[in-house]
Amino acid sequence: MGFFKFFQSSKEDQSAKRAKDRLQVLIAHQRTDRTGPDYLPMLRQDILDVIKKYVSVGDDALSVQVDQQDDCDVLELNITLPEDAEATANALSVAKRRAQERAQEATGA
């Protein structure tokens, strides 16, 4: 083991980097859920359900964040497509637009 590890470029072994990236997403979710408006977790679930009508994605494919900008709240949606989803990308953009419209309605923006 040690023999091979010695020659392995250390870049191939950076699992800590992936751990940090994943945690950044997870923790941002958790914080939005607890500091954002009460309806946010439900809103997030509804949007996710709509996305799933068009593409098969996991529960972590959608991140929802509320940011303060000047004097209004901006709802930011980020949807991560699976690798093989190019064919469904069009459908997804429809889904995303619909989700944004509903989200805007919900925030009253």
Partner: protein
């Protein structure tokens, strides 16, 4: 003024009990009258780590139910003056505790002039863990450099900020401290383990200390001796540094973050 500190984490097996024992012992060694309470009802093991398991007569549930007095229930440590252990029940379950009952116990401890009450939380984010953190003035969030532990620590921070007594009463928030335990600098250097900086970045709370992964911790728990009493061990020294910071020496530099330099041969074959 009594200070109540909860040692919490969400995830199990990260070192809460080890930390509670060493922090309580360290504070008592510096002359503060300290009690450490095992909130892990049904799964007590603080008594084992403290080496007083054969002296347990009454427990926290008896005290909460007013079946025993404070004097009868507290176990006085044999090594350190000013140190007391309040064991958990082995036979009851978590529902045996109520906030009102714990409030009565806390009140009695304050009247007995304790300087510090250290609460060793059970794992999880359910009732037992919430009970342990409810009365806290400060929290030591114990975290391993591992994805699930960091995530759970963040969840516990959320609970401290919304479900502690201080948050419910709109008082000054619980003071949060990050304690990274079971740290392995070698694996961090190889990029296999989250680094101190990563974890501080992610959780964004002040760092109280870094306890390295060390076989001495197991040796000490075998003997029933808090590792802070082992002055020669890195883990013991790291806990001692953490006490200094807890008591206000916040600029004390962190040790044990660097991997020992490996020679060529041990890098090749290690």
């Amino acid at each position: 003024m009594t200070k109540t500190i909860v040692v919490t984490s969400g995830k199990g097996g990260v070192g809460k009990t080890t930390t509670s024992a060493s922090i309580a012992t360290g504070l008592a060694k510096r002359g503060y009258k300290t009690v450490v309470i095992d909130f892990d009802v049904g799964l007590r093991n603080l008594d084992l780590v403290m080496g007083c398991e054969r002296r347990v007569v009454y427990d926290l549930v008896n005290l909460v139910n007013q079946e025993s007095s404070l004097h009868q229930t507290l176990i006085k440590d044999k090594r350190i003056e000013n140190l007391y252990i309040l064991p958990a029940s082995q036979t009851r379950d978590k529902d045996a505790l109520t906030i009102e009952g714990i409030a009565r116990v806390m009140h009695k401890l304050k009247k007995s002039d304790f300087d510090y009450i250290i609460c060793d939380s059970p794992a999880g984010i359910e009732k037992g863990a919430k009970m342990a953190l409810y009365f806290a003035d400060e929290a030591i969030v114990t975290t391993n450099p591992e994805v699930s532990s960091v995530r759970d620590s963040d969840r516990i921070l959320g609970i401290l900020q919304s479900e502690s007594k201080r948050s419910k009463m709109n008082e000054e928030p619980v003071k949060e401290h990050l304690l990274i335990t079971r740290y392995n600098p070698g694996r961090v250097k190889d990029g296999q383990m989250l680094s101190v900086d990563d974890i501080v970045d992610l959780l964004a709370i002040p760092l109280l200390g870094i306890i390295p992964e060390s076989p001495t911790v197991l040796d000490c728990s075998n003997e029933g001796k808090p590792v802070i009493l082992d002055d020669d061990s890195e883990a013991g020294q790291a806990y001692s540094d953490a006490i200094d910071r807890l008591l206000g020496e916040i600029t004390k530099p962190h040790r044990f973050m660097e991997a020992p330099k490996k020679g060529f041969l041990s890098r090749l074959f290690g």
